[in-house]
C-alpha cells in the first residue's frame, strides 16, 4: 500500500512541479481575494451623502446640524432651501439621506420635537446602518438639550474580543476559511475529472491499485496545499491587517486539518459525479456558493429560516468559522471548541468514506 501511495504522491508532485503556473494560480488569487475582502467586506459606513433642509433656523437646529458635520459618518452635500430640492437630491442619488428640520423645532424641543428623515432605501443595508448612526447622534443631542434634569438611559456598551468593533476582525478569519474551501474543493474536484478526461484514469483503473490508495494519493497533496493556504492567508491577515491571534496554534492546526479533510471529501465526492470538467465546474458552482452563504460568514445563521439552518449543520465551513473566530479573537482552546472539532471530524469521515465507496474502478 505504501509503495503505491509513494508513487502516486511522487507523480502528483512532479506534475505540480512541471506546471509552471501552478504556484501562481494557487497563491495570487488567494492574496488578491484576501485584499479585496479585507478592504471591501465591511459593514462600517462612512461619508453618507446627506442633504439638510433647515426650516427652523434656530440656535437648536444649527446645533443639531453641527453634530452631523462633526462626524465623518455623514457628509452634508446640500443645504437645501425648500422641500422640492430635498426630493430632487434623493431622486437623483445626490444624497442617500435627507434631514428636514421643520419650523418650530426648537419651540417643541422640551415637549418632544419631531425630526423628519428621508432615506434612500434602495440599498437597505446602508440605509439601516446610516439610520443607526443617525439615531445615535440625535439621542446624544437630545440628552445634551435636556441637560442633567432630563431622564435618560445612556448605554455603556463594551464589546469584548474586538474592542474597536472592527469589522475586519470579524471578516478576516472568515475569509481564511472561505478562500481555503473554495480552492481545495475545486482543485480536488477538477484533478480527478481531468485524469478521467485525458484518459490516464482508465489506465490506472485497469491496474490492481485499490480505490483508497488512489484517493489518498490524490488527497494528500491537496491537503498540504490547503494547509499552506491557511498558513499564508492567516499570516497575511495578522501581518497586513493586524488581526490579533489570541489562541493556540495547535487548536488552529487541528481545526484546519479536520476542515481540510472534509473539504477534500466534498471535492472528491463532486468528482465522482462528474464525467467532464464542464460538469465538475457546474457542480462546484452549485455546491460551493451555498456552502459559503450558509456558513455564517456574512449572513447570521440565527436569522435564517429553520429549514436552512438545518443545512448549516452539515456545512464544515460553519464549524471552521466558529473555530477560526474563536481561536483568533477569543483565544479559547479545545475545552470550548470540542463540539465544533468533533462535528468537523464526523463530516470529514462521512465525506471521505462516501467518496471512496463511490469511486468505482469502472467506466460505467
Amino acid at each position: 500500500m505504501l509503495e503505491r501511495l509513494a508513487v502516486m504522491l511522487m507523480k502528483e508532485f512532479l506534475e505540480l512541479k512541471r506546471d509552471r503556473w501552478a504556484m501562481f494560480r494557487l497563491i495570487v488569487p488567494l492574496i488578491v481575494q484576501m485584499l479585496v475582502f479585507g478592504y471591501a467586506a465591511t459593514f462600517t459606513v462612512h461619508h453618507v451623502a446627506t442633504s439638510v433642509l433647515d426650516l427652523d433656523r434656530s440656535q437648536a437646529s444649527r446645533s443639531l446640524i453641527s453634530h452631523f458635520v462633526a462626524t465623518s459618518r455623514f457628509d452634508i452635500v446640500d443645504y437645501a432651501q425648500k422641500q422640492s430640492e430635498i426630493t430632487h437630491d434623493i431622486d437623483t442619488g445626490r444624497a442617500t439621506i435627507a434631514i428636514v428640520i421643520h419650523a418650530g423645532f426648537s419651540r417643541m424641543l422640551d415637549k418632544g420635537a419631531a425630526l423628519q428623515v428621508i432615506v434612500d432605501g434602495t440599498n437597505s443595508n446602508t440605509a439601516l446602518i446610516a439610520l443607526g448612526y443617525l439615531s445615535q447622534i440625535v439621542s446624544g443631542f437630545s440628552l445634551e438639550q435636556s441637560g442633567a434634569s432630563g431622564i435618560g438611559i445612556s448605554l455603556q456598551a463594551r464589546p469584548w474580543f474586538n474592542e474597536g468593533l472592527d469589522d475586519r476582525w470579524f471578516f478576516i478569519p472568515g475569509v481564511i476559511g472561505t478562500l481555503t474551501l473554495l480552492q481545495v474543493v475545486s482543485l480536488t474536484a477538477f484533478a480527478i475529472v481531468r485524469e478521467r478526461e485525458v484518459g490516464t484514469l482508465e489506465q490506472i483503473m485497469v491496474s490492481p491499485i485499490r480505490p483508497f490508495e488512489f484517493i489518498l494519493g490524490k488527497t494528500v497533496p491537496f491537503f498540504l496545499i490547503g494547509l499552506g493556504d491557511i498558513l499564508l492567508v492567516s499570516a497575511f491577515g495578522i501581518l497586513w491587517f493586524h488581526v490579533s491571534f489570541m489562541g493556540n496554534p495547535w487548536v488552529m492546526l487541528a481545526g484546519a486539518s479536520l476542515f481540510l479533510l472534509a473539504a477534500l471529501g466534498i471535492g472528491l465526492l463532486l468528482s465522482t459525479f462528474s464525467r467532464t470538467q464542464q460538469q465538475a465546474f457546474s457542480l462546484n458552482f452549485f455546491f460551493v456558493n451555498p456552502l459559503f452563504i450558509l456558513s455564517g460568514f456574512a449572513f447570521p445563521i440565527a436569522a435564517m429560516p429553520e429549514f436552512l439552518r438545518w443545512f448549516t449543520y452539515i456545512n464544515p465551513l460553519r464549524y471552521f468559522l466558529i473555530v477560526l473566530r474563536a481561536v483568533f479573537l477569543k483565544g479559547v482552546g479545545f475545552t470550548v471548541l470540542w463540539p465544533e472539532l468533533s462535528a468537523l471530524a464526523l463530516l470529514a469521515f462521512v465525506a471521505l468514506s462516501l467518496s471512496v465507496l463511490r469511486f468505482r474502478k469502472s467506466l460505467d
Binding site: A6, K11, T200, V206, L363, D364
Partner: protein, 315 residues
Amino acid sequence: MSGESKAIVAQGLSKRFQSFLAVDNLDLEIAKGEVVGFIGPNGAGKSTTLRMLCGLLRPSSGKAHVAGYDVEKDPEAVREHIGYMSQKFSLYNDLTVRENLRFFGGIYRVPKKEFAGRMNFAVSMAGLEGREDMLVHTLAGGWKQRLALGCAILHRPPILFLDEPTSGVEPEARRRFWDLIHDLASDGVTILVSTHYMDEAEYCNRIALINRGRLVAMGSPGELRLRDLGGKLVEIACSPLGAAVNALAGSVIEAAIFGDRLHAVLDPNGPDGEEIRKLLEEKGMNVGAIRMVSPSLEDVFVRLVSGGKEERVLS
C-alpha cells in the same frame, strides 16, 4: 468452464448503452500464446469488448473469463494478469519516460530488485535509449505507442489487450510495433489487439472480424481467405467507379470499390466477365482489363458484412 488452456473465453457477451446494443452476443475463445486481431470498422464495438474483458465495463449480459477469472465477479484478479493499452494515449504527458515507467512499475508493485532490469528492457524495446529523461509529450507518435506498450508489460502480464495501438502511427513504426508484438508472443504472451487496418490482419495467428457489435467471422487469415464468396472474384478497371457499382447491382453477388478498381463476385448463374464488360459499356462506361483475382481478407470482410448472413465462428 474457464478452460485451463484458454486465456480468454467469452460467451454471449453483450453490452447495451441505453437502447443501443454496442456488443451483441459475442463468443470468443483464445488459447494461450495466440495473437488475435480484432478487426472491424470504427464503431464496430472493439473498444467496448476489450473494456469488458479488462473489467472496465460491466457486461450487460453474457460471461467472460480472462486468465481463468470471471471479469465480473473477480475483476481485481483479472487486473493482476493483464496489461492494457487504451485506444487513447494515456500516459502522463508532463512526466518523463523514466517517471512514467517508474509510476506504472510502482502501481503494479514490480519488485524493487527486478525493476531496473525491466525498465531497461522496456526502454530498449521501445527504442527509447537516451530519451529516458525526455518529457513524454515531446515524443513522436510511434515512440509514445511503444512506451505505452512498455508500461503495459512492466509487470509481465501473461495476457495483453491492445486497443488500436497502431492507429495514427506511420507505416514504418507500425511494422516495428508488430515485431514487438510477435516478440512478446514468442515468450508465450497472449495478445488480443484491435485494429481497423485490414492489412495488419496478416500479422495475426487468427482474426476476429466484428461489425456492428457482432462477430462476423473468426479464423486464421488463410482460412478466411479460402472462404467461399459464392462465386469467382474479378477485378475490373473501369470508370466512373461509383456508377459502375450501381450498374452492376443485381447482376453480380457483390460489387465494391477497391482503391482505383472494382471488385465483383460473379454469380455462377449470372453474367460472366465478358458479359459484364458489355453491360458496363452499354451504360457508357470505360472498361479496361477484367481479370480473376484471389480474394483478399478485405474482400472476405466486405462479403461477410454486406451479405448480412449470420456467419458464425469458423473452425
